[in-house]
Amino acid sequence: MRTLHTLLERELKSYFHSPIAYVVGFFFLLATGFNFQSGLMNLNHSGSEVTLVEASFNSIQFWFPFLLIFPLITMRAYSDEFRTGTIETLTTAPVEDWQVVLAKFLGSFLFYCTLWMPSALYFLAFELLTGKQAALAAGAYGGTYLLLMLLGMFYCSIGCLASALSNEQINAAVMTFVSIFAAFLGGLFTLIFDVTNPALRDLISHVSAIEHMMDFSRGLMDTRPVVWYLSMTALVLFLNLQVFQYRKWKA
């Protein structure tokens, strides 16, 4: 436990020591702020029946910056260690490989979580200023943020895996973006094309991030996506461990 804690502390420090963290944080804040504002504008002008939380998290203004931050967060996780050789000092200390993999993952995930913290203030401010509810019920907040965490876990693990595959940050970033975007687009399939096969339709909606968000932001929490994201994260982290050991032993 102590080793993991030490490694995690170092990971988090390395995020906050690098200027990229602040650049990512700044643009993310800008994007979520813009997203919140455009959700508000939509509701004002269209008079639709959805809540502010639903309007904010089910739009292209949300998804695009959201998918873009993962490559930026995770690209340097392993790439830098392999490129500069610090992987050798790291792994010849008495640490287990899985501890390294878990610490890198948790580091990126916790950093991702801190990015979301200010966004809660938007809705708080809205409720305080207007006296109206931004979501259907407390569960809708809970559901939305739960799904944001789950998606964050899955996408961070993909980013870490990509980073473990390459010495170059830019390669890792491109790989991460392409994989996450492909996974996301897969979920859009039923919305774009007319899928008649009911089994395929079902399968796609089970793994569709966009459909999950529609449900969770309304407070409709389903355990199936929870299990899906947790097990996928575990699977990708397992692959990450294999890749990490393979790369290290091939060095």
Partner: protein
């Protein structure tokens, strides 16, 4: 007593290339062993296997009795390792980095500050402890790497070219430091600076093309080796050609000569264990040559190294 390092029939193959083959050696507790070889001979590979960074293709390696693969964590707890080129995190401050490393290596929480303070002092880093590692000169970075290797007070130090890329003053500082460290510990050090090895190391292991070529004390290597030494002989050029006479003397393998002004300069290569100085003097007296200089040059470790690693055989 269990040897500190025990390597048996170690072989490592990378995609078709054999980096080391059938390497065996032992290092006892308290020994300082110089690990020598040309670039690409397999020094770093051997060290990386010993530190648990690379798995061997076959064979076993043990640190203080712990198998480096099967009991990797226990083995790694026993050693401090300075990899080639000293990789460090440039975004951390010196004291912060050492604290992190000590913590990672399991130094007791209550002793962290004390240990870090100790190695900062030992490695002469106190004046830069608040600096970012990325802003340090090569010499300082090397010392930070050494401090890292030492921070858990390990029984065994494995240092891969600790003096590479340093200027002569820095090399001297690092050498002094290592010599101090060696008093209480077992040290395996790879370097290209052979006079250092002759001074510091109680034993030398020479590896070439992935195979151990020699493993002995520097003294024994020098005594037993073919390149046991040479004699430089200067005589007046008025004398006759000395070569045919000299090559008659037993113990002399080869005679080379040149003439400079009124002096004949002769280089004699001597067979191992032979000392033909007196027969040479005898000859000079007999032939009435004008003797200007007779110097025996002792073989150096460099001669042994070149002899063992020069040929492709």
């Amino acid at each position: 007593m269990t040897p500190m390092i025990q390597v048996q029939n170690l072989t490592k193959r990378y995609a078709g290339v054999t980096a080391i083959s059938d390497v065996s050696f032992e290092v006892s507790k308290g020994e300082v062993v110089g690990f020598l070889g040309p670039n690409g001979a397999g020094k770093s590979t051997t060290m990386r296997i010993l530190t648990g960074y690379l798995p061997a293709t076959s064979g076993t390696a043990k640190i203080a009795g712990f198998d480096v693969f099967g009991q990797s964590l226990e083995a790694r707890r026993k050693l401090g390792y300075l990899p080639e080129n000293t990789p460090l995190y440039p975004d951390m401050r010196v004291c912060e980095y050492l604290r992190y490393r000590a913590d990672l290596k399991g130094v007791h929480r209550s002793k962290l500050t004390e240990r870090v303070g100790d190695v900062l002092e030992l490695c002469n880093l106190v004046q830069v402890e608040r600096k970012l590692i990325g802003a340090l000169s090569k010499g300082y970075r090397q010392r930070v790497g050494l401090a890292d290797a030492l921070v858990s007070d390990p029984d065994l130090l494995i240092l891969d070219e600790p003096t590479i890329g340093l200027d002569p003053n820095q090399i001297r500082q690092v050498r002094e430091l290592i010599r101090n460290l060696a008093q209480k510990r077992t040290v395996l050090i790879s370097t290209h600076i052979l006079p250092e090895v002759e001074i510091m190391c109680s034993r030398v292991v020479i590896i070439h093309k992935g195979k151990i070529r020699a493993s002995d004390s520097a003294e024994n290597l020098l005594r037993n080796h073919r390149a046991a030494g040479s004699i430089r002989l200067l005589i007046g050029s008025g004398s006759e050609d000395a070569r045919p006479f000299l090559s008659q003397i037993p113990g002399i393998r080869e005679v080379a000569s040149e003439t400079e002004g009124d002096t004949q300069i002769l280089q004699l290569r001597i067979e191992a264990g032979a000392d033909p100085r007196e027969p040479i003097l005898e000859l000079i007296r007999e032939r009435r040559w004008a003797l200007r200089e007779l110097t025996q040059r002792r073989a150096t470790l460099e001669d042994v190294f070149v002899e063992l690693t020069h040929s492709d055989s």
